[in-house]
Symmetry: C2
Subunit: 424 residues, 2 copies
């Protein structure tokens, strides 16, 4: 597994390889109140119709349309008001000829009525009568039982992400306990003698372990449960044992650093000694070309770069779809969109670049501008970025005004953007 | 405050009125690990430079560029390797003439060195020497101290939303405790005799209180802390006392239902009896035209419609910017984008419609299609929608292929989309 043997793989190929050995989501039942952002583990059906009964969508009078047949300005029809109901009340009365019931929005249509006339249409005679001077059609101003959803219909499918609108639907049908996919436990192990904890003061030659905190936040955002396992110094045995131990307690493991070809990059040898199956260790992308994945028994090991930006990109491009696919989500990848490049980016590269960028949507178009310093070690650019600008590999640089694709860091996700993103 | 007196207000006017009496965010200190999605309450400065020292961005040999001046293919220069350091180690040696130190990515540049030559460029003679056959410039392959961030620079400004990239930056600088704006306590009180709890079986004429659960999820998503205060039946005194009590314990209060002009719509009278200042109670929009806001002492009362879709829209258009502005966020409104209408929508309306829709981004364009049933009482459309399609009020309907604006429910937010959205 020396540098010479590394085979370059395209981003889409690498993701395909990952998803061929998927993480299988397991199911748990949680309260509706705790279900934000989780993914449904089952199709759910409507246990009853919605609306659950014929109801009035307005304030008005419920009546039988039949009785309005002759109504006109010249010969208005007089109705007797025999009851008065608000939403939640059910009238015990049945409407007979030329009778009506005063009904408020959301109340159940009384027996004998097949239409509602709005308050402003009639001329009231006290509280007990009104005259109507136009014909009302059957079904006018009635929200019929089941017009929104029929009993037994599938209302939500497995893999649906639970957002406020979904919660509204679940509550409507009385789903208070929800089957969702469990958050997988994802171990995070940072390797590198240079790493200090964020609570330690700086020391010569050392930097703080920002990657672990960053990845933990990325994982929480995509619905996994990060487990911070600390740092490993650049000692081979220490690294091997640390990884071997970590694998016992988590569903998958992310390491940062140690995946390149430097003298202290131990991960390739660790994979070998574990007997893990290497999926990839060199991707045709910048930053993060050393991003690696290997499979140990039923667990995936992701070896991300120790460079903050490269690490971030590796997590979003590879770890994200691997985990989100375990929730059966239909759009596990970052959200792809078209944009106009707002600044020159003249450095050509044979590999496809994922430049941290800022996408601005304004009245006329969508502009994407590189954010901060474009070096794989840059961290300030990560704080500014809301997207990756995808600059396909090739021999030329890119110019302001060029049409590009971007991958948004916030958004609903894409189904499979790679065919579009990587095609020449 | 009867129906006749209601003054129609445009959406942007109503929001302007709200933001003239802003909610003032208060500050708390939380752990970095708990800060996802929160908003910084202060500008933060860099307590040190990043990188904190000159370092090597590659695996190679650190040397003095001066010594390479004469190097060429014909006359390569031989260097002695006097030390070997990985990231985190600091060499105790100082480079003298024709000396070099083997250095790994991330390690501090040794004293006496001013450039790094990459491993693959040299011809190694065992571990102690190599020859170099080209000139190396001063600063070549050196990441200089402070090139990413200088000490004392403002790294993040007040109002920044904390996402994984921001967390990376905070961790880099050792910010383990973060000043953020507190989540305001937002009471949710549903009014209506028809409302059952989500854990109750259906009863004739009644429906479950889905709005409170939906709003709670909307509030959590935008960073507030919902307080579920139950339901109030359509009895005036009960409603008045319930609201008066609720106001004592929360920072702002949302009610659902009771804001229209029906016989049991008590909210207008409650506002009056409380002595609250009405901001608006009729908006030129569909759904949710009865959306109301009133100010009682230093607290805002939002009166949202009882219809699920109208309630949802009212929360996103009005409650969202009111709360998110208290975090000093620069983009407190829903994310505006241009799209192509993917289906006819022929019902003309003098009011601007916010149609629940599904926005799909594909290779060629961004399509927006209405989701499900377009009635204010519809709830299934909310589960499907990822955006509002904004159809400006007027005398004509809208056709497939028309250019429209959409407001995305997921996204970074917009600064002030209203000028664009509502202009003719």
């Amino acid at each position: 597994m020396s540098v010479q043997k590394r085979q370059i793989m395209q981003v889409d190929e690498a993701i395909t390889k990952l998803l061929e050995v998927p993480l299988h989501g397991t199911v748990e039942i949680i309260s509706l109140e705790d279900s934000d952002g989780r993914y449904l583990a089952e199709d759910l059906i409507a246990p009853h119709a919605v609306p659950p009964f014929d109801r009035s969508p307005y304030d008005g009078f419920a009546l039988a349309s039949q009785d309005t047949k002759t109504a006109s300005h010249k010969e208005p029809v007089m109705f007797q008001v025999i009851d008065h109901i608000g939403a939640g009340a059910v009238s015990q009365r049945v409407i007979s000829e030329k009778e009506a019931i005063r009904i408020m929005t959301g109340a159940q249509l009384p027996r004998g009525a097949d239409a509602v006339v709005m308050l402003e249409v009639v001329k009231e005679h006290g509280v007990d009568a009104f005259e109507l001077s136009r014909q009302i059609n059957k079904g006018e101003n009635v929200s019929y039982k089941g017009e929104d959803t029929k009993k037994g219909e599938i209302i939500l499918t497995k893999g649906t992400r639970i957002h406020p609108g979904v919660i509204a639907l679940l509550a409507t049908f009385g789903y208070s306990e929800i089957p969702v996919f469990k958050r997988p436990l994802v171990g995070i192990l940072a390797t590198g003698t240079e790493l200090l904890d964020i609570r330690e003061p700086l020391q010569p030659g050392k930097i703080r372990n920002s990657n672990a905190y960053m990845i933990a936040a990325q994982l929480r955002k995509l619905g996994a449960h990060p487990v911070m396992l600390g740092t490993l110094s650049d000692d081979y045995d220490h690294t091997f044992l640390g990884i071997q131990n970590a694998l016992k307690t988590v569903d998958l493991l992310i390491t940062t650093g140690g995946v390149s070809v430097g003298d202290f990059d131990h991960l390739p040898r660790v994979y070998e000694e574990l007997g893990a199956t290497l999926l990839f260790n060199k991707i045709a992308m910048r930053p993060g070309s050393v991003t690696s994945a290997a499979r140990f028994q039923d667990k995936m090991l992701f070896g991300l770069s120790g460079n903050p930006s490269a690490c971030f990109v590796g997590c979003e491009l590879f770890v994200r779809p691997y985990i989100v696919s375990s929730f059966h989500a239909r759009k596990p990848h970052l959200t792809m969109m078209k944009a106009t490049l707002g600044a020159d980016f003249l450095k050509a590269n044979p590999f496809t670049r994922f430049v941290r960028g800022t996408v601005t949507m304004n009245d006329s178009d969508i502009q994407a501008v590189p954010a901060g310093l474009d070096k794989s070690g840059s961290v300030s650019s990560l704080a500014l970025a809301n997207a990756f600008i995808v600059l396909r590999g090739g021999t030329r640089g890119w110019k302001k005004g060029d049409a590009v694709y971007v991958l948004l860091l916030d958004g609903e996700g894409s189904e499979w953007p790679w065919t579009v993103l990587l095609s020449k």
